[in-house]
Subunit: 441 residues, 2 copies
């Protein structure tokens, strides 16, 4: 690529970012201020409207189609935007999850990691079975061991923590028992999902599952994650002091981002999603002094780049791919919702949450987001599934992703604690408020 083209390419990218950020804020304001809904929904919808399948595909003077998506590239790629734009969106996702990790209550996370494990297990097993059987029931697969059915099952297991983290952050519920269970559950879910995907890919490609390979892939992912958490927690005080020791302006912020990027990149190399690395290292640092220093500058970086992630997510929606498989798609979407509501909700009930808490957790684990699309894309690129099943995956992803924030805000707004025993919310602001209330009473 010569430098004339690269200059034009970057100019096109910044124009795309301009439209994305405008659309994100207009959509967000519409939803938050006028429709009283989470702004993230407005950002997703903005992506649909300005994306390659709607306005973005129109030819404009001077720039051509701003988000042009050719039929050829659609056939091979799940992602209908340029690699540069996708990269900016993914950087936004890393920043979002790193911020969510920093904001998570460290003590609560560990107290609820046991419950979260059971929630995640249920949220993997039930959706997998439902997805697999539905594919057989609709005649798309010949039997439950057909690779197409197994792939549909794998797509159903994914949890995209991004949407939920954003909504919980907006309504300041990241540090509730339900909030930490959802985030911990989503992280564990991803590790389990990787193992499921490894099994399904082995089956789909070779028709044979090698137990050794599954153990290798799963062990690598699990081992890396446990190692990252252990190293992060052990070194967190030292990292905090190291970041604070720099004198040049803004060094702590720049270095914290470097650490987030490093953990994300390594997570991907070890077979996990990048956002898991970003969240885990943010969580490890959440208990340090530097987390307090980073809060405000990180929020500015968040506002600069996170909207791009959600708008790009919205851009993935292609209505035309959904027509032929509408009924199958709707059925799969309903099962995807039930799969997480029951699959996560029932274990949540079993580990000490009440019905309200279990419902919140089930809804929080519902959105599939980009993780499902990536899994489906693996299936498409390896020719295990065809574009019809892929369209169903997109439809299910979009419905669960849009529905989760719509349901999550009211579920938290009804008030009341979500645990059967007295809740132990340890956030300082909360403690202060409780103290004040006691004083007032």
């Amino acid at each position: 690529m010569n430098e004339v083209n690269i200059t034009e390419l970057v100019a096109h990218l910044v124009l795309q970012l301009a439209v994305i950020l405008f659309a994100a804020k207009l959509g967000g304001e519409l939803f938050e201020r006028w429709l009283k809904q989470p702004s993230v929904l407005g950002e997703l919808l903005a992506g649909v409207v300005v994306g390659p399948y709607a306005l973005g595909g129109m030819q404009l003077p001077l720039v051509g189609a701003l988000f042009g998506h050719t039929a050829e590239s659609a056939a091979v790629s799940v992602i209908p935007v340029s690699s540069e734009l996708w990269a900016v969106g993914q950087i936004g996702a890393v920043i979002l999850l790193f911020y969510a990790g920093l904001e998570t209550d460290f003590g609560l996370f560990f107290r609820y990691s046991g419950p979260a494990f059971f929630v995640a297990m249920g949220g993997v097993i039930l959706p997998f079975i439902l997805g697999d059987l539905a594919t057989v029931a609709f005649g798309v697969a010949s039997g439950p061991m057909d690779p197409v059915a197994l792939f549909m099952g794998a797509v159903m297991t994914a949890t995209s923590v991004g949407i939920t983290a954003r909504v919980l952050g907006d309504i300041r519920k990241l540090d509730t028992p339900e909030g930490v269970t959802i985030l911990a559950g989503a992280v564990i879910d991803d590790v389990l999902g990787i193992i499921v995907l490894a099994i399904v890919v082995s089956l789909g490609v070779s028709g044979d599952v090698s137990l050794g390979n599954i153990a290798l892939v799963g062990g690598k992912a699990m081992g890396f994650w446990l190692g990252l958490m252990a190293v992060g927690i052990l070194l967190s005080k030292w990292i905090s002091r190291f970041l604070a020791s720099f004198r040049s302006a803004g060094a702590a912020l720049t270095l914290a981002l470097a650490i987030a990027f490093l953990a994300s990149g390594l997570a991907e190399i070890f077979g996990l999603a990048m956002i898991i690395g970003a969240y885990s290292i943010g969580l490890a640092l959440s208990n340090t002094e530097i987390a307090e220093t980073l809060r405000e500058p990180m929020e500015s970086v968040y506002h600069a780049f996170v909207p791009a992630f959600f708008v790009v997510m919205g851009m993935l929606l292609d209505f035309s791919a959904m027509g032929p498989v509408l009924v199958f798609g709707l059925a799969v979407s309903v099962l995807a919702i039930l799969g997480k509501l029951l699959g996560c909700g029932i274990p949540a009930l079993a580990v000490g949450f009440n019905r309200l808490g279990a419902t919140r957790i089930g809804i929080g684990m519902m959105p599939r987001g980009e993780v499902a699309l990536i899994v489906a894309g693996v299936g498409l690129s390896r020719e295990v599934i065809q574009s019809d099943v892929f369209g169903v995956a997109i439809m299910m992803t979009f419905i669960t992703t849009v529905l989760a924030p719509l349901l999550l805000v009211p579920a938290f707004r009804t008030g009341g604690q979500g645990t059967r025993r007295a809740t132990t919310r340890v956030h300082p602001v909360q403690v202060e408020m409780e103290t004040t209330e006691r004083k007032g009473a």
Copy 2:
């Protein structure tokens, strides 16, 4: 590109960003704290060290060569990094110049735009002549109208305002008469440079200059810039109120970035550099209330992305390309320094600066940065110049870019005003200080 590859590509990018941000802060700290030099030099040097021509080219376990640059791609592209990394660096440049625009004193800019025009004219004409003649004198071109000589001249005219804006910002001199003259001069210089490039490209390709085409290219660039400034200034109060009217968190910052990206992308479409658009719209908004609101959040975004720009600039340096043309390169570098010192300094003297002020302006206009590389890249890709002349352009760029901050800090530290008449520095803090001093006296 399928989604497996795009995921790996993004993971590789975030690892690159992690290394870039670490290296930037380590290099910056080394220079600022221990060597008492501007931190931007440390960031440039960090780029050289971790870049594709040094450590970055080494094969590592798991990731391969982190900044690998193959010989084939070197032959066709001036830019030895991936398009995604280049894009992130360029976003950093846009943020840098937008921030510099916001921080510029609006009134001073216009008071000094007349002087800046003469400074820019001198800084284009003299370096062009020196570059052209040196190429002939070293036997690289057959005569002063040889396309190779004309291209070398065009490369010499460019001014990269990025380095200077960063250094002036670091030492808080953006709002001095010299500071605004340098920034305004660099902007006008870019418009003039575009016209020179158009002439040279026409000559190089067709051997004939069409006056109509030159007028068209130059008029389009100049017309767009004047139009952007006019629209920006006329609408600035309205834009400020519009940004402040949003209720969702961080909306003003997100929308301000959208405006900066829009102006940058349009500037490129109309034949100017992106950073000119970013700087101009920042300047137009600098006089509004929202500029004050944006200062702190913009600073955080700056720390997150601007270091990537300077490290990527450092990565462009390839020592091995310089060996064969060392003497020619050194001569051109010396002429490039003198060309701006005298070419900008003498007009500065003529329009009311004293010798100290003229020296500061000459030094500030010295760095060529990425603008010269892009111009040289146009020549290389159109096969007007060969890789030896291209190596000289890189060498000249690097020497002027590194030298400028080294000289600029002491030139401002000697103190004393740079204008012959009493300086009229109108920054509120300054006025307050002067008032306090008068009270104390």
